[in-house]
Symmetry: D2
Subunit: 339 residues, 4 copies
C-alpha cells in the first residue's frame, strides 16, 4: 500500500510513520516529491492497520494496491469455478436457468409452476418460504410449510430447490430442504447469516446488495468461503440509482467485472433487476450475451393473483418463449440453455 503524507509533514513525523510501518512488519520505500512525500509499504496489510495508519498524525491518506479479498479473487484461482447444485453445474458451458415464483403461496400454485418451468427447460426451481418484506403488513411466507411444498415439487419434477434464508437461526432447517441457499440483497452484509451458511457445504446464491460495490460483494463472498464453504455463486440483481423507470438498474457490466476479478460464477436476475415483466426477456438475453453463468427468473401462473412481485413475474407461456430466445443468444456466444 501507499502512505501519502500531508504537505509539509516534518522529518520527525515522517520518521514516526516509517517506524510504525516497520513495527507492522512492512518493507518501506520512501519517495519525496516536491509537494508530497509518499511511502510505499510492502507486506501483509489488514483493515485495522490501514485505519490506524490513516488516523496517524501527518498521514493524509492510504492508497491500497491489492484487493482486500483473497479466496474469492482471481489471484487465488484463475479458472472459473464450477459449482454443482443437484446435478446442475454453474460455471460451465451450460447456462442454467432457475425459475419459479417469488413466494411459495400454496401447494397448487407451486406444483403448477414447477411443472411448467420444468417443461420450458428450467434447471432449478426457486420459491421463497421466508420472505423479507418492506412492510410488516405484507405476506411473510409460509415458513417450514413452504419448504415442505418445495420438497414435494422436487420429488415430483426432479428440479433442485433454491430458497432464501433470512435468519441465522433458520439455516439448519432451511438446509434440510434446500439444494442452494439464497442470500437476499438486503442480507448481503448480514455477516452472522453469511458465517452461518459458511459453516455448511450447501451452495449459496449470494445476491448483490442494493448499494453494494463489486468489491464489497466479493468481500461478502469471502465471509462465506473463509468460514469453510467454497460453493458461492454470485447474483447480480440490480443496484439502486436515481432512475425510477425501472425498479433497480441492472448492472450487466458487473458480470464482466466479476469475471475479471474473481473465479466465482455469476448469475443474473432480470426480474428484480427491472421490476417489469415486459423488460425481462430482453435483459435475460443481454445478460447471457454479457457472459452470465446462469439466470434466475420469476414465473407465476397468474401474476395478477401473486402475493408478491406479480408485476415482474412472467406467465409460463412467456417464460417458455424467453427460454427459446435466450438459448439462441447463448449459442451465439458458445454456450447453451436448452439441452
Amino acid at each position: 500500500m501507499i502512505v501519502v503524507m500531508e504537505p509539509g509533514a516534518s522529518e520527525e513525523v515522517i520518521d514516526q510513520v516509517i517506524r510504525r510501518l516497520r513495527e507492522f512488519g512492512f518493507d518501506v520505500h520512501l519517495s519525496r516529491g516536491v509537494e508530497r512525500t509518499v511511502i510505499g509499504a510492502i507486506g501483509e496489510k489488514t483493515a485495522e492497520k490501514i485505519q490506524q495508519l490513516e488516523a496517524t498524525p501527518g498521514v493524509e491518506k492510504i492508497v491500497p494496491i491489492l484487493q482486500p479479498y483473497k479466496l474469492a479473487g482471481k489471484e487465488f484461482k484463475s479458472e472459473r469455478s464450477q459449482i454443482e447444485v443437484n446435478g446442475v453445474v454453474f460455471g460451465g458451458t451450460r447456462v442454467p436457468v432457475i425459475a419459479g415464483p417469488c413466494a411459495v403461496e400454496s401447494r397448487e400454485q407451486l406444483l403448477e409452476t414447477a411443472r411448467r418451468v420444468k417443461e420450458a427447460g428450467a434447471a432449478l426451481l426457486r420459491g421463497g418460504a421466508y420472505k423479507p418484506r418492506t412492510s410488516p403488513y405484507s405476506f411473510q411466507g409460509l415458513a417450514e410449510e413452504g419448504l415442505k411444498i418445495l420438497a414435494e415439487a422436487r420429488e415430483e419434477t426432479g428440479l433442485g430447490i433454491v430458497t432464501e434464508v433470512v435468519n441465522p437461526r433458520d439455516v439448519e432447517t432451511v438446509g434440510r430442504y434446500a439444494d442452494m441457499f439464497q442470500i437476499g440483497a438486503r442480507n448481503m452484509q448480514n455477516f452472522s447469516l453469511l458465517t452461518e451458511v459458511g459453516k455448511t457445504r450447501v451452495p449459496v446464491l449470494l445476491k448483490r446488495g442494493l448499494s453494494a460495490t463489486i468489491n464489497e460483494w466479493l468481500m461478502a463472498a469471502e465471509y462465506i468461503i473463509s468460514a469453510g464453504n467454497p460453493n458461492v455463486i454470485l447474483c447480480e440483481r440490480g443496484i439502486r440509482t436515481f432512475e425510477t423507470e425501472t425498479r433497480n438498474t441492472l448492472d450487466l457490466s458487473a458480470v464482466v467485472a466479476v469475471h475479471e476479478l474473481s473465479h466465482l460464477p455469476v448469475v443474473v436476475d432480470p426480474s428484480h433487476g427491472t421490476g417489469k415483466w415486459k423488460y425481462v426477456t430482453d435483459m435475460a438475453k443481454a445478460a447471457v450475451a454479457a457472459g452470465a453463468d446462469g439466470l434466475i427468473v420469476e414465473v407465476h401462473p397468474r401474476p395478477e393473483e401473486a402475493l408478491s412481485d406479480g408485476p415482474q413475474s412472467l406467465r409460463p407461456e412467456v417464460f417458455q418463449r424467453m427460454m427459446e430466445s435466450v438459448d439462441t443468444v447463448a449459442r451465439a456466444v458458445g454456450r447453451y440453455v436448452l439441452g
Copy 2:
C-alpha cells in the same frame, strides 16, 4: 389510490378492473380522459393488493396516495414522541449526545473514554461489542465480554449504554446490558432482527440504511413498533452516493423530512456521515441547527490505535470543544446540549 389504465384499454378490461377493485372492498370513481382512463379507489390498500392490481392486464400503473406506514406516521400521532433512555429524554428541549468508541477494545480503552466523554457532557455511552465488518479478517468485537465492560463503565460513570445487536439470537443477551439497542445501517432491513427487538421494551436506535429511502426507513420503524415496541429513535448516518470525498453523504434534509412525516425523534451521526474527524464538528453543528434531536459521535483516546474507525474518531479534547460549540448552536435554535 389511483389506477391508471393503459391507453386504449377496452370497456371490458376496464370493467374487469373495476370489478376487482370492488371485490377488494374499494369505492370506485372513474375518470375518462382523452388519452387515459384513471380509476380512483378509496379504501384499505395493502402491498399485496397494489401488486396484484399492477399485474392485472390493462393496468399501466398504480399511484398510491397515502404513505404505507401508520404507527410511525404523523397522522397517527402529531406531536413529537419523547423517548427516555436511562433517564435521558430524546425528543425534548435537550439535545442529548451519545459518545464513545466504535468498538469496545479493552477495559482500559473503554473506561478512559467513558470518563472523558462524561466530563465533556455526553448523555450516553456508545461502544460496539458485536461488530459487523466488511472484511472477515477484521476485528469482530469482544462479544459478551465487551458488554460486561460496558456495564462496568455505566456503573462507574452513570452513563446509559447504547450498543449494537446484529443477530436475532443475541437480542436477549444484549438486552440484559443495553439501555438502548443500536440497529446498524446494514441491518435496517434485517426484518428478523427488527421483529426480535420489537418484542422487547428496550429503546431502539434505528440507523438509516446506506441506500434506504426515508419511506423504507419509516417502514423499518413500523416493523419494530407494530411488533410492540414504540420506543424507536431514528438515526441519519449518511447515504451512499457517487461522491467519494466523504465516506457517505450526510443527508440533513432527512431530519427535516422525518419531522414533517413522523413523530419519531431523529439523531444524527456525523462520524459515519463524513468518515473524517475534521468534518465532524461542523456537521454536528449543522445537524443541530437543522433540528436534530440528538447526536452520536465516535470518540477514541488514541484514534491511531483504534481497531476500527480511527480516521473518523475524535480525540477527547476535540470532542470537548465540539460539545461547547454545538451547545452554542443548540441555544440559537431554542435547545441546549450542556445542562
Copy 3:
C-alpha cells in the same frame, strides 16, 4: 393529473382549488377518501400549471398521469423511426457500428483509424474536433482543422462522419462537415445547443446525461424535435452511480425502456459505459442482445499514445474481433452487423 389535498383541507380550500382547475380549463372529478380528498383533473397540463397548483395552499402534491413528452413519445408514433445518416439507416434490421478515436489528433492517426474500422465493417466514423474536457489543461481538440481531416477521411473511405458540437456558435461550422451531430452527455440539457441543432436537418446523436432520468432524456429529444428536427438518435453511455470499478454504469435496461416509451432508435456506447477496453466487447454483445439499434465504439491505433480515452479504446485488431462476435449475437436476435 391528480391533485392530492392535504389531510383536513377545508371545503373552502377544496372549492378554491377546484375553481382554479376550471380556470385552467380542466374537467374536474372529486373523490373524497377517509384521510384525503383527491381531485382528478382532465385537460391540457403544462409544467407551469403543475407547479402553480403544487404551490397552492391546501394542496399536498400533484401526481401527473401522462408523460410530459409528446413528439418523442410512442403515443405520437408507434413504429420505430428509421433515421438515415449518409446512407446508413438506424432503426432497421442492420445494427450500424460507429467507430473511431475519441479525438482527432492528427491526419495520420485519423486516416489510419478510418481505414482500419472501415475494413472491420464500421458504418460511420466518429472523431471529436471540439473536446469537452474535465481539466482546462487537457487537449481541447483541433477545432475546424479537425473537421477538415474528418472530411478528408470521409472522402477516402466513404464513411459518414459523427462529430461532437459543444457550442451553439459552432453549429453552423460543424454542420458543414458532419453527417451527424453528437451532443455529449454533459450537454444533454444545454438547451441553447439543443435548440440550435433543432433548427437544422442534420441527424443528432443525443447522449444521455450522467445523471439524467430516461424521462429527462426524452424531454431533451423533445427540444430538438419541437424545434423542427425529427432526426434524433438516442445514445445510452452509462450513468453515474456509487460503483467505481467501472467508469460509469452502462444501463442497458434503458434501451428496453426507450423502446417501450419512444419511437426513437437507441445506440449504445460501451466504451464510455465501462471505461475499460477489456469490458467493451462483452458489453457490446449485451447491448445488441438487449435490442440496441446501433453501437458507438472508441478505436485508436495506439491507445498508449492517445490524447484522450486511451484506456477505453480498442486496438483495430481487437475491434475487428469484436465486430465478428457482435455480428453473431445480432443474428441470434434477428438482426445483423456485418453486411
Copy 4:
C-alpha cells in the same frame, strides 16, 4: 503518482514503462512487492500522461497523489478568498443572502419582490432572465427585457443583481447588467460557457452539477480562474441521489470539504436543495452552522402564480422570519446575516 503494474508483468514490460515515465520527465522509484510491482513517479503530471500510461501494456492502474486543480486549491492560496459583488463581500464575517424569484416574470412581480427582500435584509437580488427548462413547452424567460427589469430594481433598491447566463453568445449582454453571473447546475461542465465568463472580471456563482463530484466542481472553477477571472463563488444546490422525498439531496458536507480543499467561498441554495419551501428555513440554518459563506433563496410574492419553482419559493413574510432565525444561528458561529 503511482503506477501499479499487472501481476506477473515481465522485467521487459516494467523496463518499458520506466523508460516511458522518464521520457515524460518523471523521477522514478521502483518498489517490488510479492504480488505487484509499483512505480512511484515524481514530476509534472497531466491528464494526457495519466491516460496514456494507463493504456500502456502491463499497467494495471494509475493512482494520482495530487489533486488536479491548482488555482482553485488550498495549496495555491491558504486563506479564504474574499470576493466583492456590488459592495457585498463573500468569504468574510458577514453571510450575505441572495434572494428573489426563480424567474423575472414581470416588472411588478420583480420590483415587489426586490422591495420585500431588501426590507428583510437580503444583500443581493436574484432573478432569471434566461431559464434553462426541462421542457421546451415551459416558460423560457424574458431575455434582455428581463435584464432591464433587473437593472431597474437595482436602481430602485440598491441591491446588486445575480442572474443566470446559459449561452456563451449572451455573456456580453448579460455582463452589461449583472453584478454576478450565475452558472446553473446543468451548465457546470459547459466548458465553452465557463471559458467565456472566465474572460470577464464579473464574479461568477458556480453551481455544483447534479452529479458532479467536489473534484469536478473545483475543476470547473479552475476553467474560469485559468481563463483569467479569479472571482469564483461556489454554490452547493443539492445532488441527485435515489431519495425522492426531496427534489435533490443537499450535501452540506460539501461546504466543509470545499473549505478543506479550496480557498473559494461557498454559498448554499436550500431552495433547489430541497424543492420544498417548508424545508428551506431549517436547511438554511444548517448551512450557516456548517460554515456556508452565503445563501441563495427563492422568494416569490405569490408562489401559486409563479411561472417556475413555486413549490420551493418562500413568501416574503416567511423569508423575513427565516432571515431572523438564520441570523441567530450565524451569530452562534461567529458570523452574522443582518447588519
